[in-house]
Amino acid sequence: MSAIRVPIVEKIFDANDQIAHQNKQLMAQNHVYAINIMASPGAGKTSFILQTIKHLQSEFKIGVIEGDTAAVTIDADKVAAAGMPAVQINTGGECHLDASMISNALPQLPLDELDLVIVENVGNLICPAAFDLGTTINLLVASVPEGDDKPYKYPNIYRGLNVLVINKTDLKPYVQFDMDYFTRGVQLLNPGLTTFPVSCRTGEGIAPWIEWLKAEILASRQG
């Protein structure tokens, strides 16, 4: 027997990244703009998605992929009740969605008829950050009551973001949340990140997000 060292130097997430790339191509072929929405549990992902659907559904055809750790259909039902084609992925306790789950879900949506696919990731600030899904953008819904230290404690998730939404701004008078401290932390990780402070409850701040997204979807069609 002889011992031999075999050099590899391969990223552990390569397999996932390759499937993510295929997802991206499939959606580009169908002229679909896709958003991966991440957040901690209770930050308001579902409310944010429902607000977004409400403001866009007259102009765009939207599909939703819901990631859940258990076989509950509450979120998918809410979305389906809003009249959107929705696919639910039960991750069976897994803490994140990965590219292969999206690749299995995409054929269940009428992609050729859709303009926008919204993916609701599992509520978690750690694991989803590691798995690219192949969406056009990655978006995080942070929220005021979670505290202003989150970028400092969960740096990874802020690194890969294209858009940051800070939800529940209506609660600012009631909780300690130093917006400057929060945004400086974000700046350290992701300089110049596009950010929208919103309140899904009052609707405040939703309009600029919707305008931004509309322009993005239209621009992506030209590109």
Partner: protein, 120 residues
């Protein structure tokens, strides 16, 4: 928590290269993990024995090389290490920084054993 799928990926990459190299068994696996990548060594190690049990990698020892998290201030060019928490530049207080290292996560190499090929 995603260490299980991570461990499965490590096994699949290591096994693929071991087969290509016509290994009889894999004895060591060298991983490089940046301190900013949210991977817990102990957790990977914990899953490893179960995941690798029926494979060519059974019994292989995992080695973790940790890469420090280094930030470089874009205002004063000072480079500093983050150990506990993310902090602004300790020299000038600036927030205009770039991450230099610490986000690595890859399989660097494996060590294998092969049957001796007898020379004619």
């Amino acid at each position: 928590m995603h260490e299980l799928s991570v461990t499965e990926s490590i096994l699949s990459i290591a096994s693929e290269y071991a087969q290509k190299a016509e290994a009889k068994k894999v004895t060591d696996i060298h991983l490089v993990i940046g301190r900013l990548s949210s991977i817990v060594d102990d957790s990977v190690q914990f899953y490893w024995d179960f995941v690798a049990e029926d494979s060519i990698c059974r019994g292989a020892k995992l080695h973790f090389e940790r890469i420090p998290a280094m930030l470089k201030c874009q205002d004063c060019d000072f480079t500093y290490e983050i150990t506990e928490r993310l902090t602004p530049c300790p020299k000038c207080g600036g927030y205009n920084t770039a991450i230099v290292s610490g986000e690595e996560f890859y399989l660097d190499s494996i060590e294998i054993e092969k049957e001796e090929v007898k020379n004619p």
